[in-house]
């Protein structure tokens, strides 16, 4: 029974509104990611959930209990910070024991020197807990060191350990992997997912990296300008974004967008080609979005472009094409064999998978309509 629920949270710093009526329900044991560009309010939302920040309006409840005015420590949440925030003067073991000392010991038991003598039994239990967590995280050999003597990855683990010892209702993580190097970040992603599976505790994870959100979460909430734009499983959000901003933010390389128009006969005019829609719509300017992997090279393709740049990732090659009538270069994913036949500045023909095309209104909202898979002559 530890469902977390945020209801109509509002927050502004001075005159600037940071969160506008944000609501989010997090189920027990879920891995939820708040993802968005910097300044979208995702960290603020996490800090309001943790209690470090007070919301101007709205309600935070954990396990059905209203905790809006409860102090951070009494919410029984644990937080992992981007800078790890380990106490520099304490050893790893003491760092991990601090939340336990604060929670389980009375005032006199926390006194230096005599505290451990007076509350010997509690100390023994706490040391056991610390050792257990250290073993899970494989940091037992580091227990006597100071944070200054650890590498970034090791500090990250210790910070996780400090969060784990108190067996919190939920883990809150504020961009915990941002300070690690690329290889370690990928490794830690897998490890965090594994940890989540093992602990079966709720994780609320804040990141600006859409790759982290896609790889780890059960559900992700895409935030922009102080609003949650879309909540859903990563696949759903990737394949079925509900607005142009979400479509643009999720996915790397970013989705291709074209200005297009629905003509009076209900067909779609797209960079010089007319495409049929499944059901005709009224005449309007629209934005067409299509991801690089849904474009393919084809000698009989209806579109043409000049190769301006080849981005070779080994397993895939992304071709950046200058297409007449498109404002930005079009990015297309090709397999290395196909890409080998393409030379720079040459003209290539390509086509799209019609059922993968996304249509957006000029306001950015998604149009619930798809292209016909087969062209009617």
């Amino acid at each position: 029974m530890s469902k977390i629920s945020l209801q109509s949270i509002e927050k502004s710093f001075g005159e600037t509104p940071v969160l506008k009526q944000v609501s989010l329900d997090i189920e027990e044991g879920e891995f939820v990611t708040l993802v968005g560009p910097s300044g979208c309010g995702k960290s603020t939302l996490l800090r309001i959930l943790s209690g470090l920040e007070q919301a101007d309006a709205g309600r935070v409840s954990i396990g059905g209990m209203n905790v809006t005015d409860v102090r951070p420590a009494e919410r029984n949440l644990a937080m992992v910070f981007q800078s790890y925030a380990l106490y520099p003067h304490l050893s790893v073991a003491d760092n991990m024991m601090t939340p336990l000392r604060m929670r389980d010991l009375p005032m006199w038991g926390r006194l230096p020197m005599i505290g451990p003598l007076l509350a010997r039994d509690t100390y023994r239990v706490m040391q056991g807990q610390v050792r257990e967590v250290a073993e899970t995280l494989k940091i037992t050999p580091l227990l006597d060191r100071k944070p200054g003597q650890l590498s970034g990855g090791q500090r990250q683990r210790v910070a996780l350990g400090r969060a784990m010892v108190r067996q919190p209702v939920a883990f809150l993580m504020d961009e915990p992997l941002s300070n690690l190097d690329a290889a370690l970040r990928v490794h830690m992603r897998a490890e965090l997912s594994e940890l989540h599976r093992r602990l079966k505790t709720t994780f609320v994870y804040v990141t600006h990296d859409q790759a982290e959100a896609l790889t780890m979460s059960d559900r992700m909430a895409v935030m922009m300008h102080g609003n949650i734009l879309q909540v859903g499983p990563p696949d759903e959000i990737y394949a079925n974004p509900n607005c142009l901003e979400v479509a643009r933010f999720i996915g790397s390389p970013a989705i291709n967008t074209f200005a297009a128009e629905i003509q009076s006969d209900g067909h779609l005019a797209l960079i010089g080609t007319t495409l049929s829609l499944v059901q005709p719509l009224t005449r309007a300017p629209v934005t067409v979005g299509i991801r690089p992997e849904h474009l393919f090279l084809s000698p009989t393709g209806r579109f043409q472009g000049h190769v301006r740049y080849r981005e070779n990732l080994g397993s895939d090659v992304f071709l950046h094409l200058d297409v007449e009538g498109a404002q930005q270069p079009v990015v297309l994913r090709a397999n290395p064999a196909q890409a080998a036949q393409v030379t720079l500045r040459n003209r290539v023909c390509f086509d799209l998978e019609p059922d993968k095309v996304l249509l957006f209104q000029s306001t950015g909202e998604r149009l619930p309509c798809a292209l016909a898979t087969r062209e009617v002559a």
């Binding site: 937080m79 910070f81 800078s83 106490y87 003067h89 601090t98 929670r103």
Partner: protein, 307 residues
């Protein structure tokens, strides 16, 4: 390979006018600062006639001389022949209760420093890390207080202490210095460099705000505190002005600099040897402290902080 080494050697030994000039200026400055110390140490080693005639170099001849005071007490002349060093330093301890003065100095400076820290850390923490209405105004007041010279408020302070009947007590020596705006300012600047995440982590762990100050901020601020401690202790150990005002009669409360007055000229004439010996004894604890804490002290001044 060997060429490269030669290159390095060449750069290492190249004469640079700029560097030479810098060193000359620094050396001159150091001489000016050290010369009084040289004189102090030298005089504390010499016999009175060598001091008066300015002979004997640094050490003096270290010949035995006649202690007139001892003769006056009716002792035989040959029993009153003394070595200058021994005479100067024993007189320093005999003529005035120098140990008592040193103890007073320690009591006063340590109490001042401890209370200053107890006041300054919470203030600095609030000014650096808590958001409250009027914070900037309060900080501006702190900066303003840095500009007030001690001597300007000495008289009102004295009157207040006198009205409370506190003159000639340790309290009079300690109370006026317990709130150090310089300490608040220095610690506030240091706390600004402590990441907010660390404080948030402590809050998540369940520490109260005072818990954060004493269990998190204090240990991380040790280098800055060492620097402040040296400033504070040196200033109050060496202070002559304030003890001279509030300690009027009771010699038991004299701090070391007041002890120097015991040797000022009276009917016997000036007694520079023991006086300079006292001065040497008074500055020694400070020099020892500084040497022990030197590295930390410089760390604190540059506020290299933590990472």
């Amino acid at each position: 390979m060997s060429e490269a080494i030669q290159d390095i050697r060449a750069t290492a030994f190249r004469f640079s006018t700029r560097a030479a000039l810098t060193h000359i200026v620094l050396t001159l400055g150091a001489l000016i600062v050290l010369l009084p110390f040289y004189t102090m140490i030298s005089l504390s080693l010499k016999a009175p006639h060598e001091i008066m005639q300015q002979t004997g170099g640094f050490m003096g001849a270290q010949e035995l001389f006649r202690d007139d005071f001892c003769v006056k007490l009716g002792n035989a002349v040959q029993d009153c022949m003394v070595n200058p060093i021994i005479y100067n330093y024993t007189t320093a301890f005999e003529k005035a209760p120098l140990l008592r003065y040193l103890l007073n100095g320690i009591v006063v400076t340590v109490s001042i420093f401890v209370i200053q820290v107890i006041v300054a850390l919470p203030c600095a923490y609030a000014l650096a890390k808590l958001r409250f209405w009027g914070r900037e105004a309060v900080f501006a007041l702190v900066l303003f207080c840095l500009l007030i010279p001690v001597h300007a408020i000495a008289l009102p302070l004295y009157i207040m202490l006198a009205k409370l009947g506190l003159t000639n007590t340790y309290a009079a020596l300690v109370i006026p210095w317990t709130i150090s705006v310089f300490g608040i300012f220095l610690m506030r600047q240091f706390f600004m460099t402590v990441p907010d995440d660390l404080i948030d982590a402590a809050r998540m762990d369940g520490m109260s705000e005072y818990g954060i100050i004493w269990q998190v901020m204090l240990p991380t601020a040790i280098p800055a505190l060492m620097a402040f401690g040296i400033f504070s202790i040196v200033a109050h150990w060496n202070d002559y002005f304030w003890p001279r005002i509030v300690i009027t009669g009771n010699r038991d409360l004299f701090t070391p600099p007041l002890g120097l007055r015991e040797f000022k000229g009276d009917a016997d004439g000036d007694n520079f040897g023991p006086m300079m010996a006292t001065a040497c004894i008074i500055v020694t604890p400070l020099i020892v402290c500084f040497l022990l804490a030197q590295r930390r002290f410089i760390e604190g001044i540059t506020l290299s902080g933590m990472k």
